[in-house]
Symmetry: C2
Subunit: 270 residues, 2 copies
Amino acid sequence: FNLNVMVVGEPGLGKTTLINTLFNKPVLTKNVDEEREEFPAVTVQLTASEIEEDGIKLRLNVVTAPGFGALTNNAESWKPIADEINTRFDTYLESESRLSRTTIEDPRIHALLYFIEPSGHSLRALDIAFMKQVHDKVNLIPVIAKADTLTDDEIVEFKRRILDDIKYQGISVFKPLVHETDDDDAAVLNNNVLSKLPFAVVGSTNYVQSADGRSVRGRSYPWGTIEVENENHNDFVRLRELLIRNYMEELKENTNNVLYENYRSAKLLR
Amino acid sequence: FNLNVMVVGEPGLGKTTLINTLFNKPVLTKNVDEEREEFPAVTVQLTASEIEEDGIKLRLNVVTAPGFGALTNNAESWKPIADEINTRFDTYLESESRLSRTTIEDPRIHALLYFIEPSGHSLRALDIAFMKQVHDKVNLIPVIAKADTLTDDEIVEFKRRILDDIKYQGISVFKPLVHETDDDDAAVLNNNVLSKLPFAVVGSTNYVQSADGRSVRGRSYPWGTIEVENENHNDFVRLRELLIRNYMEELKENTNNVLYENYRSAKLLR
Ligand SMILES: Nc1nc2c(ncn2[C@@H]2O[C@H](COP(=O)(O)OP(=O)(O)O)[C@@H](O)[C@H]2O)c(=O)[nH]1
Ligand SMILES: Nc1nc2c(ncn2[C@@H]2O[C@H](COP(=O)(O)OP(=O)(O)O)[C@@H](O)[C@H]2O)c(=O)[nH]1
């Protein structure tokens, strides 16, 4: 079992923190250059980790892209990342065509978490340019970073404008399917998941005191404490459900049955 | 009496909100393009307004640069802004040399508020590139935008790293002088102003209920309410003191006696 997640967004949007919060362990660490924000270019890095979910061991591969959005000229930022996605498809394609098929770990990217700066306005030119380059190759899951920057009203407005932009620009984002097994299930999915997309998330690996005295992961400000796992404070729990608990299989199936197939056909036609 | 303030930073950092909060009136308004974040290029805009401080009428000119930091390629973003600063120096230089000197409104930029994204890491390549282009022409006042994104500890760390970057890059920022009239004064200035630079600010034109029931300007979150004018919540009050109440004369004198003089000498030497 392995899960390959790509994490992209400009520096300082809490990507490292969010991944470590999602998997409840220090999967990603910061090196000094990243802290100092010295990025001469965009590079692609891989961090492998073993995590356990529900007693099941899972190999987690996190692909990051330090330097994305960090330069004065970001016009080509998307390229090393798109190349990485393609290379992983090629690796798989090649392994499929070998006569003696050894069971390799699936190298393909199963989900790409794209972090949107909480400007409160709408998508940036860079966001749109990047998402257009990858949306047809990968399950794209845009998230609003550092959601504690926005009030509840601002989040509603911002989500609406982002969805308008996404539609207007013809960008496809991953949409969990509503299985028609149960009307109740469908309703819950709709209310709790679909209507909340794109998720506005907060991450923290620090434990703080909540307002009612519990020790929780969160961020402590002079004016109050935001709790990561409080569904009234942000969509972190919903994102965890989507990525790890309820839709991991769907993400992998979509990668295999749709995204990879499209890539493969396009490649063989050339 | 006029005050010319330039306000620069990428979209969505609360610049419009902060100016309107500082001067307690809707000085700046948003047009639809700015909300939709459609910027084909960087432009320079002027908004003139009359404000009253302590019974004194003041002509406030706010120069903004929509599009700065908004493009995928921001390598040239600084140019229209630096040109504007120079043009205003030239206008003044020309008026000085006319025989019949009519009293024109001083066109020179008295202060440039540069908004830093609250990444928590350090300055961006764009921040450094921009500040290096203007620091010798204008009183540069960097501010950390949307400071409610950062905890108190993160603010201390971030300020320290920003100051390190500024020093390392040889960037001059405006430093209010400690007048040696009074040891107590100097101590207050040091504790309340100098040691808090660069200021981490929050802006809001909305009135909300504070924790103890007062109606204050602030931002209301499910986990608490941040008050703009609470000195324990952010440096807004200190910035207002610096820009409007205590150092306006010093900003203008420095512009006239130092920055303009340097510009003029350099120009006449060519
Ligand atoms: N306000 C806020 N700050 C956060 C959040 N997550 C992380 N941070 C802080 O943002 C800064 C950058 O986080 P980091 O994970 O290193 O960001 P990255 O550069 O995108 O990997 C650190 O000071 C974090 O403590 C969040 O959800 N909200
Ligand atoms: N968290 C936070 N949000 C702010 C602050 N000031 C403004 N905002 C919000 O940020 C968004 C953009 O503000 P705006 O003033 O239009 O930014 P500008 O594009 O830089 O002029 C709006 O939703 C504001 O309500 C602040 O101090 N903190």
